[in-house]
Symmetry: C2
Subunit: 248 residues, 2 copies
């Protein structure tokens, strides 16, 4: 039973891309067949795997030039690349019929080839992210344990509810996890407690610690497990992957 999960939070820099890369790689290392789709015009996910000037991108598929054309990095890990041109898609798709469900139709054609499909969303709640929500079964929210990161989530809940009522009744926020956590900072500890109170059973037990190896790995075009398997980053994401695998 394939799971399609969107990693989303319109607050910038909270670890959406870092999480998509390393949860994806972690699941693939456990033998799961994984597809990652870069839904961000910044194309950070694409860069993390060293894919340069991709010939096929999610943009080409969204505007109807071709089906999803993933790059096959390993047997169990494929990536649909992005491009800066995706930034123009919001306007280009705005007048298309059923503009919100273009990605959903593309994903349905490949779903059964994968166990997990992860969608790395941009820091926005526009039409491209709405396409991701329409195609997804679940949403994971990476959350920095910082004051500014807590606000604005109401808008995310509002958009999720709108998509759930009008387009995708399956959609629900199923997981929240804290990223870039530094136990020495009182601020981080305080906010992490608030997150636990607010999201209760949706919160993963694993907390992703602040760890520079996670910021270094992308420049080597590697996920954290290939770059430095003994680092805190690798330990934390491996633990998160174990929790994901046992979720219903």
């Amino acid at each position: 039973m394939t799971k399609v999960i969107a990693l989303s939070n319109h607050k910038g820099g909270v670890g959406k891309t870092t999480s998509t890369v390393n949860i994806g790689a972690g699941l693939a290392n456990k033998g799961k067949r994984v597809l990652l789709i870069d839904m961000d015009p910044q194309a950070n996910l694409t860069q993390c795997f060293g894919i340069q000037d991709p010939e096929y991108t999610v943009y080409g598929s969204l505007i109807g030039e071709y089906e999803l054309r993933p790059y096959e990095l390993r047997d169990t890990l494929h990536v649909v690349a992005s491009t800066l041109d995706l930034a123009g898609a919001e306007v280009e798709l705005a007048s298309k019929i059923a503009r919100e469900t273009i990605l959903k139709k593309l994903v349905e054609k490949v779903r059964d080839q994968y166990d997990y499909i992860l969608l790395d969303c941009a820091p926005s709640l526009g039409l491209i992210t709405i396409n991701a929500f329409a195609a997804a079964d679940e949403i994971y929210i990476p959350l920095q344990a910082q004051f500014l990161a807590l606000h604005g989530l109401d808008k995310l809940f509002e958009i999720v509810d709108l998509v759930k009522e009008n387009i995708n009744p399956n959609l629900h926020i199923s997981g929240v996890f804290t990223t870039q956590f530094d136990g020495r900072k009182v601020l981080n500890r305080d906010i992490a407690e608030l997150v636990q109170e607010h999201f209760k059973d949706k919160v993963f037990r694993t907390v992703i610690r602040d760890n520079v190896t996670l910021a270094e790995a992308p420049s080597h075009w590697q996920d954290i497990f290939s770059y430095n398997p003994k680092s805190y980053g690798a330990v934390d994401y491996a633990s998160l992957v174990d929790e994901i695998l046992v979720r219903p």
Copy 2:
């Protein structure tokens, strides 16, 4: 001579809001008359000053309901608040005549009341950010010294050139500064060197260090100078403000 400066970088979480708040407060402390405009639907700048459920926002002004209506926090520091509704403005304004220069016309009416007008942009390059570029004289780019933050700047340069050629010939990127810098991390030192090589004389000498007090101040609704004037954060932003004041 009023300066209108947009703080922009579509990479998320690099310190745009933190910089707008603290550069603004630093300039106001030096007796300059400062207006801050929150151009982000997340309304983080609005939250940093404790403005809750604002009656007047930049959204109301952009859709033509009223002129810019700033909150007067001090004699020399005013803020135009934002709201989550601003996220809908991209679509609402898309069909308006001269949609890119709506903010420019609003700003022109108040320019002479201020010495500096700072625009805090969202992590995107859509119509709202283009409005900020059309209204601005200069752009400052806060840059995290991380690998992922370096890519994608090409798109920013592309959009700036488009606005410069078609709407605002004055516009130019005048300043770049590094944020969240941790001298112990080799990655940060390496990237900071690349930034210096790439941007040359546009780079401010001041580097903003990674300092948790900057992340704590917003939850107290204070800028860094009021919250903890002896912190690294206050020292660094004061030094950056000094550099800004002597720029032509």
